[in-house]
């Protein structure tokens, strides 16, 4: 049987109107689910019979306020050590990485020295280095050398972190395509010029996210200097805890660290994103 021809053309597909359900429902569900889950968690915590004790022990406002000035004073030391060490590490590690990446047979002994340096300082716990340098070297009482624990502790951090950062730099240098090197040589640049004008600018932007990681890690590890008598924020918080047996001062120190590191993480994200966008534009 031959189907009958429809008398009128089929109706056009329904126009897609604004579907409020599709637009809002997922968002509403997310919000409700977040509220529900976090609400239940908050309720569980708040109704726990131990909560008042936990609160008094870790989140006592009185103790936090009392401890805050000394913890902040300590945090200033953290920031100073951190910034100075950061500058030294940035330069020293770059120098090491460049030496390690130089080709040419004359550079062989220097390359070997850098490899040894990295093997030693990356292989040792930072805490050991801090104690060794902070107590050990001043104990020699060599005239002319400073004997401040702060100074030698800082030196230990720089030596240790430079080994890591050097390897990060090197990975960035190795990631630059061999053709870039060849092209720069073809332009008549010598080994140093190739490194400085062709390789490093590309290498550094490649490793920026990894470097930010180290920046954050270093900021936290400055607390290691407390074992050689430097009164940083963690030590100040510990002193308060030791005299009151209350841990709220450590929470104050924790908040200060977060306050410093979280914006850094966002900054790193932003820089990376901007850099990526710029490069893709060039490539496109």
């Amino acid at each position: 049987m031959i189907p009958q021809r429809p008398e009128s053309p089929p109706p056009p597909p329904r126009r897609r109107g604004f579907d409020w359900r599709k637009a809002f429902v997922p968002g509403l569900i997310s919000a409700a689910s977040i509220l529900l889950v976090f609400g239940v968690l908050a309720w569980l915590i708040a109704t726990n019979e131990n909560w008042p004790r936990i609160q008094a022990q870790f989140f006592s406002l009185d103790h936090m306020m009392t401890a805050a000035p000394r913890v902040m004073r300590g945090f200033v030391i953290n920031l100073q050590v951190w910034l100075i060490a950061l500058a030294c590490i940035g330069v020293w590690a770059l120098l090491l990485a460049v030496i390690r990446s130089l080709r040419g047979p004359w550079f062989a002994p220097f390359r070997l020295m850098v490899v040894l340096y990295i093997d030693i300082f990356r292989g040792l716990p930072a805490l050991l280095l801090v104690i060794l340098f902070g107590f050990g070297i001043p104990a020699l009482r060599i005239p002319g050398l400073p004997n401040s624990g702060l100074f030698w502790g800082g030196v230990a951090m720089v030596l240790c972190y430079s080994a890591y950062v050097c390897e990060i730099y090197r990975s960035g240098i190795d990631a630059v395509h061999e053709g870039q090197r060849a092209a720069a040589h073809a332009l008549g640049l010598n080994e140093w010029q190739v490194m400085i004008y062709a390789i490093l600018p590309q290498a550094l932007r490649n490793v920026l996210p990894s470097l930010m990681n180290i920046v954050v890690a270093l900021q936290k590890d400055v607390a290691l200097l407390s074992v050689i008598g430097v009164r940083d924020s963690v030590r100040e918080a510990q002193i308060y805890t030791a005299s009151t047996f209350n841990y709220s001062s450590l929470v104050v120190a924790a908040l200060l660290f977060l306050l410093a590191t979280i914006p850094m993480a966002r900054l790193a994200d932003w820089i990376t994103k901007r850099d990526r966008a710029r490069r893709l534009q060039v490539a496109g």
């Binding site: 407390s226 074992v227 008598g229 510990q238 047996f245 209350n246």
Partner: protein, 278 residues
């Protein structure tokens, strides 16, 4: 040292009153070795640190009963009706001992200083001993020959965390430059490295340190106790209902003169040392 007795009495009464206020009247101040309030009924479980130092306990061996604190515990256990072999020791770090929460011991003895702030989170017995402070320094230190707190104030000091030495230096001596180390050994390392000029410690600790740990160093002067540092007490978990019993027994041990005898045996300093009081 007999002049310190009234002070200890006063403090003891105060601590006892605070304890009875804090822990209510339902807890009993008597008991038997099989008391259900004990962590391990039949045994008296006592916490102390690992290691322990002379003269508080000799040879890192609490069980020997040689030393001030372990001898005190055996005297206290006898007073409470325990046999010598019914005392068992639990070794922890100082941090573990003082951390709030449930404890693996009935109470701990570890030269813990009683302060009102600490008493909010742990329980304390009455004070059984309060020490003078000793200034320890190496030859050539600027604090040698000091005769007043003013002479001591400008030195570079070191102190160990968790002790009351830091508060003592800042509040009583008025020192402004105090580096803080993890333990007494760290302080001595800093002294050897020339990073600090001197440290203070409880006299018995100082005697051991200058005899064994750092023989080149010597006790330069004896300083009076801090009025805000009430002295050493036994440490209990917060709200322990064992406290009244132990505290009453400790009171009897102190009243009988046993503690003073132990002080004379283990903790007496050289009477020729100079004393600085202001």
């Amino acid at each position: 040292m007999s002049d310190r007795f009234p002070l200890i009495r006063t403090l003891a009464t105060g601590a006892l009153m605070a304890a009875s206020l804090a822990f209510g009247a339902q807890a009993q101040d008597t008991g038997t070795p099989d008391d259900a309030r004990l962590i391990n009924p039949g045994m008296l479980t006592v916490g102390t640190s690992d290691p322990v130092y002379p003269p508080w306990m000799m040879n890192d061996s609490p069980e020997s009963g040689e030393g001030f604190e372990n001898a005190l515990i055996y005297a206290l256990a006898a007073e409470m009706g325990f046999e010598r072999d019914q005392v068992q020791w639990v070794r922890q770090t100082f941090e573990q001992i003082v951390a709030p929460g449930d404890k693996p011991f009935d109470f701990a003895i570890n030269q813990v200083s009683v302060t009102p702030a600490r008493a909010e989170v742990v329980g304390f017995s009455q004070v059984y001993y309060q020490s003078d402070k000793a200034v320890i320094a190496l030859p050539g230190s600027p604090v040698l020959g000091a005769s007043s707190f003013a002479d001591l104030r400008d030195a570079r000091w070191g102190a160990a965390i968790g002790t009351t030495d830091l508060a003592y230096l800042e509040n009583v001596v008025g020192a402004t430059d105090v580096a803080v180390y993890d333990d007494q050994v760290g302080v001595f390392q800093a002294m050897q490295a020339g990073q600090v000029d001197a440290t203070v410690a409880a006299v018995p600790t100082a005697l051991f340190a200058t005899a064994v740990q750092l023989p080149e160093a010597s006790i330069v002067a004896i300083l009076p106790p801090d009025a805000h540092d009430e002295g050493h007490g036994l440490l209990f978990p917060h709200g322990s209902d064992l406290l009244p019993w132990v505290d009453a027994a400790l009171g009897r041990v102190i009243a009988a003169g046993t503690v003073q005898e132990l002080v004379n045996t283990w903790l007496v300093a050289d009477p020729t040392l100079p004393i600085i009081t202001e």
